[in-house]
Subunit: 321 residues, 2 copies
């Protein structure tokens, strides 16, 4: 009998659900606006209704459903299914989400951090397929990471492992909003790279970006910089080169420390594609040790926006998650 | 019945053996001069004789001996027991040491890298006792590291994990003899810290070190700098502070990435003690994220020179090493 799990991707803007079989195929989806619900309780009720609706529509035999996995943007005690806090979703401090959902749904529930869940999804069904030891990083507003060791998520002793964005890029460096300074995220996070290129344009660097945003520098996004780079814009190409080098320095350290089979890079900024990846790979090649650098493949994430739901469901497909 | 293993610590200068029980107690020892043997074959034969001598003298029942574990200073394929190469011991390229020793001794043999073996020893019987996830670093001529995940050594996909000394401390930086640049080892390795303080003294910094070496700057060692620091020498105290900060920056990154329960620091430079450890802990506190920094303990290694033999024997005390 084919087994299934429901994956829930609770995001700051949307909450997505999908029914997924153990081979990673999605057979049914639903989507909620996270911000449309005023309280935690309302959002939880909406998720419960959607899960029930999916189960009713699909006439799944109760034994075919392994459980409901949910990925959330924040720190989670995986063992207890306790959400300590969510980024950008207020009112979730110390929520025993696993217990709440299990009481309402009467099926097993597993709760994990969204980047862990994405890492698991990519490892089982995406760019990490077949690998047992890998590191996944997400490049967006924040820079996050997840680690698979021996085919299982490695969460660390207090469930906070994988914070690649807060590894020091610089021995000294700019203050980061984590309380530290010199962190990678402070130099390659969405907001900072947009600020940085705006500064260069204001400083007089000629660029095709200006035309792409009709002179409105506040409209610059990483996507715009990527578009300009693809058109051959020198400033944009050099800029992705610089950003890639920064990411590559941190990844070279991770390659030397963890000797992973693969490093998978996802998130909006990863859409910059080749100009960025070329620079990352070149830097890792320059700075990592011969044996681990020969062993590692640096790949773009493959599951895109589906990584969240697929990975959340996959919490039930993996021995001990 | 109490079970035993023989631990062998093959070092560049001495090769030490000991019979060790599963509670980490040493009951018999032997020591060879590694450099006294001209060929690999002669050294192997000498190790075999010593192992046999230990077994004869102790009248161990054959079932009481789990096997012979051996730690070597170089890259090892643990699964195959193959030594790829040894640092400072010539003639060992691609040696199937496990096979050679098993044929001669007729007991199971496990071979691993010396820092891995030390990490395992400290985790089972030293400063890491009771912890399941930890990182061990050794500060000496080289800066090495080992990683325990879930109570087992984590070796990486090509057995080269743990190279803490070659994580980038600086985004740019000085060339390292690994082929990269800006590596931690280039700033805190024995040789470099001695060079650096010599430069400061030649540059005119007043210090008690001069007196301790009777003006012979070539006689400066990390031990001398530590002695001066203990006597309140400003230059030496400030120097350990700087070295500790550099180590702390890299460790803050490891704390954020791996969220370990403990970080254990051994090797000669760790003997600098409190001036060094205070600075390491302060830096980790300043730069690591709140949750993982609260969770981690940064401790001095406890097994000293016995870590090698104890850890090598412990390869047989741990499920899957």
């Amino acid at each position: 009998m084919t087994k299934f799990a429901i994956g829930v991707d609770l995001g700051g803007t949307y909450t997505k659900l999908a029914l997924i079989d153990t081979s990673g195929r999605i057979s049914r989806r639903a989507k909620l606006s996270t911000t449309a619900y005023k309280t935690r309780g309302e959002l939880v009720s909406a998720i419960v209704s959607e899960v029930k609706a999916v189960l009713e529509k699909t006439h799944l035999s109760p034994n075919a459903l392994l459980g409901v996995g949910i990925g959330v943007p924040g720190l989670v005690d995986f063992d207890r299914g306790l959400v300590y806090t969510l980024t950008n979703v207020p009112g979730w401090k110390n929520t025993p989400l696993k217990g709440i959902l299990e009481a309402k749904l009467k099926v097993p529930v597993l709760v994990d951090n969204d980047v862990n869940v994405m890492t698991l999804g990519e490892c089982r069904f995406g760019a990490g397929k077949g690998a047992k030891n890998l590191v996944c990083i997400t490049l967006g507003t924040g820079v996050g990471g997840g680690i698979m060791i021996d085919g299982r998520l490695y969460r660390g002793c207090t469930f906070s492992a994988g914070e690649v964005g807060h590894m020091p890029l610089k021995e000294e460096g700019l203050s980061c909003n984590c309380g530290g300074y010199g962190c990678l995220e402070r130099y390659v996070g969405n907001r900072y790279i947009v600020e940085e290129i705006r500064g260069k344009i204001r400083g007089g660097s000629p660029t095709a970006i200006k035309g792409l945003v009709n002179g409105d520098l506040s409209a610059i996004t990483p996507e715009v910089i990527s578009k300009a780079a693809l058109k051959g814009d020198r400033l944009s190409i050099d800029f992705w080169n610089t950003v890639g080098k920064r990411i590559g320095v941190t990844l070279a350290g991770i390659v030397n420390l963890l000797n992973p089979e693969r490093i998978i890079i996802g998130g909006g900024v990863a859409e910059a594609g080749e100009p960025l990846f070329k620079s990352i790979r070149k830097t890792v090649h320059e700075r990592a040790l011969p044996v681990p650098k020969k062993a590692v493949k640096i790949l773009k994430a493959r599951l895109g926006n589906e990584a969240g739901v697929i990975g959340a469901a996959a919490l039930f497909f993996n021995p001990k998650g």
